[in-house]
Symmetry: C2
Subunit: 191 residues, 2 copies
Amino acid sequence: MCLLSSPIFGLMSNIIAQRPRFTEKSPMSSAKLAKLDRTDLRILQALQGNGGLSNQQLAEAVGLSPSPCSRRVQKLEAAGIIIKRETVLDARKLGLDLTVMIQISMDRHTPERFANFEEKVASFPEVQQCYLVTGQDADYLLKVVVPDIDAYQHFLLNQITRIDGVSGVHSSFVMRRVVDTAALPLNYVEP
Amino acid sequence: MCLLSSPIFGLMSNIIAQRPRFTEKSPMSSAKLAKLDRTDLRILQALQGNGGLSNQQLAEAVGLSPSPCSRRVQKLEAAGIIIKRETVLDARKLGLDLTVMIQISMDRHTPERFANFEEKVASFPEVQQCYLVTGQDADYLLKVVVPDIDAYQHFLLNQITRIDGVSGVHSSFVMRRVVDTAALPLNYVEP
DNA sequence: GCAGGACGCGCAATGTGCTTGCTTTCTTCA
DNA sequence: TGAAGAAAGCAAGCACATTGCGCGTCCTGC
């Protein structure tokens, strides 16, 4: 029992109705969309590729002197376009060898249940991602990192399934990470 | 038709057999597991929380003077425990309003098909994640970011479904991001 | 129990890089 | 075509990261 169903080409219309269309200039979208020129996009692209770049390296990469480059980065941070810098660690080298994608379905779709579930899930350090999604198989999609199967079993039994409203759980174990990046497709963003 | 099936408590034994057990000290695991003291873990924890910390701020956060703090970070980077720094951008502010989780199943599980699929997928900037997973529903789990439904439809029809071997596609649209971080559960890592 | 060695922290100095004020240049609009 | 705004480049001041060195501590071996 899930919120919305989305087979490969079914029921897309209600999604379209819910999402703002950014091809037309509504007041809401124009307020969120910032004006960026090609230099800004090149800065973002370079920073996405390597967040550890120094200002000098970044300036050289985008063809600018360090001063305006630093100023632009500060503006992008103040505008909220650059949210934060993250440090990516090697899970294997830390003994965290098991990554699991979990589909969770709820028995009742009341706001209280959802809020309670999200609050609990957000407090678990094992949870790297938790998305509320459409689809007939699940309401939530979680990405969880644990050391091994034993730890996962404990996490599933003592944490996840104890949350009120959780009715269905399906686990998929990650065998290989083909792509894993936070980089956005900036080619869609036009100056 | 998928590689492995993993209902909630079924067929976990084959996974256990494939994964090295880190409770026992095998040569392979000891080679990967680095020795970290509490100070190292506090550094990693602090850097995970805020990758933009300066060395001075980090030193103060972990109760160290800047010199040994910088030295420890260098060691952690050289050891590969710190993989990279990432810059996280606001997708909404860039007009990238649609995030989709895609389950993909392959018709034939030959290494050539898989290698070809992974090579193609890795070249798409829309793909943020691509994991090879167990489970009866899919072989690959993808996370894709696009501006809107139109762009997603184009991406699905012209890119994904054109790859040899792709037999099934199921899309789940992300409605809300409850948790989205790269932070690992360092509480499992013991000094 | 004592001596030797190694590891790691803290201090100081140096070099590098970041940042801010100012001038110049380019662009845009009237 | 002229004027105004914005943005880039230059220079200086300053803060920060980094490296060498001395000291203390812990562990080890005799």
